[in-house]
Amino acid sequence: MDTFDWVATAVKILIVLVPLLSVAPVMAWVERRGSALMQNRKGPNRIGPLGLLQSIPDAIKFMGKEDPIPGHVEKFYYVLAPLASLIVPFLTFAVIPFASSMTIDGRVINFQIADLNVGFLFILAVGSLGVYGIIMAGWSSNNKYALLGSLRSSSQMISYELSMGLSVIGIVMAFSTVHLGEIARAQGEVLMTLGPLTIPKWGIFIQPLGFLIFLTTAFAETNRLPFDLPEGESELVAGYHLEYGSMKFALFMMAEYMNMAVASGFIASLYFGGWQMLPGMHSVLDVLGLSGLTFDIVRVAFEALSFLLKLCFFMWFFVWVRWTLPRFRYDQLMDFGWKVLLPLSLANIFITGVMIYYRWY
C-alpha cells in the first residue's frame, strides 16, 4: 500500500459512508410519505417542500431527549447492543461494487472498498452477526416483551439465513465465481437478442427462482414487514428495543434502514447487473462523444448512478411491501421458511446444476 492506494481507499470509503449515513433520515421521510400515499393521508408536509426537511427536527429531537438507562438492565450489553447492530451494515457494504474500474496514471482503481476473494460469503458471514445486536438488546433489557422479540428474531434469522445462502449458490454456479466484482462484470454479457431488444445476462433472467427466494429472505433478515416479528408492535409493544429511548433507539432505526440499503445493494449486484448501465445510458454516452480521462470519469459516474437507481428502487420496494402486506403469524413464518423456501432453494440448486450440465447458460 502506498500513498496512492491509501488516498483511493479513503475516497471510496467516503463515497460509500456518507450516503450510507444519510440513508436513515431520507428513508424515514420516504417511509412516512409513502405510507401516507398508500393510506390516502397527507403525511409530514409542513417543514420544507413536501415535508422534505422533516428529518432534521426529528434528528434534533432524538439527540436532545434525555437518555436514561433503566435501573433493571444489564448495563454493559444494553449500551453495546445498538452499536453491535450498527456495525454490521457498515462492514458489509465494503464488499459491494458500485462501479467498474478506471485507470488513473496507469493504476487501476476498482470501485469496491475491499476486494476479498471470499466475496459474498463475507456479506453472509457479517450479516449473520446482525442478530447479536437484537439478542443483546432483548436479553439485557430484562423485559419479557423484549426477550420474546429477541427469541423470535434469533430463530427467524437462523431459519431464513439457510435459504438465503442456498439461493445465492445458484448465482455462484451460473457465473462460477464468488467475487461480487466478477459477478457484476459477467452480467454485462448478452443473454439473447429478441429483435431490437437485447436482454443482458442479469441474474434475474437466469435465476428467477433464486431471485424470488433471495428477495423473500432479504425481508426476513432485515426484520421488515411481513417478517417484522422481533418488533411486532401490536403484540410485543415494540419488541427488542422496547426499553430504549432517544439516540439509542435512533441507532436501531438507522441500523434497520442501513441494513435495507445493504440488502438492496446486494440484490442489485447479484440479480440486476450491479453497476451495469441501465438501458439507454450507453447511447447517451456515445452521443456525448468524450474520450480519455473525462470519458472514464463520466462512464464511472453513469455506472454509479445506475447502481444507485437500482438500489433506490429496492429501497422503495421495501417500503412498498411494508405498507401492503400484513404480518405473518409466528408458526406461518416458520412453516414458510422451512417447508417452502428451503426445499425451493435446494430445488433451485439442482435445476441450475442440470442447466449447466446441458450448457444452457
Binding site: 444489564e74 450489553y77 476479498l116 476473494n117 471470499v118 466475496g119 460469503l121 463475507f122 453472509l124 458471514a125 457479517v126 450479516g127 449473520s128 452477526l129 442478530v131 447479536y132 439478542i135 443483546m136 436479553w139 426477550l147 429477541s150 427469541l151 434469533s154 430463530s155 434469522m157 437462523i158 439465513e161 465465481t177 464468488v178
Partner: protein, 174 residues
Amino acid sequence: MDISPVFFYSFAAVAIAFSGMVVLKKSPIASALSLVIVFFCFGGLYAMLDAHLVAALQILVYAGAIMVLFIFVIMLLNIDAPSLDTMRAGRLGRFMIIALSIGLLSLFIWAFKETTPPASVGAFTPQRIQEAGGNTRVLSELLFSEYILPFELTSVLLLGAIVGAVAIAKRRST
C-alpha cells in the same frame, strides 16, 4: 504476507481476555457472548494469515450460526447462575481440572519452544494459491476432486445426526 505484530497481539490479547471471561462470568449469556468475541478474534487471525475463506467460515458458522443457537437455547431454557451451582465439581474434580489444564498448557509451551517448523514447504504456497485464483477457488476445487469422498462422507455423517435428532424429538413428543 507477514503478520502485522500490532494486529496479531491485539487480536491475541482480546481473545485471551475474553476466553477468561467465558470461564469466569457468572451468567451463561454473558459467557456465550464473550465466546462470540473470541471467535471474532480467531477470524481476524485467520484473515491475517491470508486464509480469508477460513476466516469467513469461522464467523459464518461459529459466530453466526452455532453461537446464535447456543444463546437461543440458553434463553429458551432460561438457564441462570443458581441452576448451574448443582453442576459444580467437587474438590477432587476441581483439583483434576486444574492439574490437567496446567499439564496441557506446559505441553503447548514445550511444543512451541522445542519443535521447529517443517523444513519442506507444501504445494500450496501463498503465491501459487494467488496464481490459481484465490483460496476460495483452490479449496473448492480440491474438495470436489481429490477429497470428494471424505467430503461426502462428512455430509452423510451430518445427515445422520439430523435424522437422529428428529427421531429423538419425535419419540419424546408422542
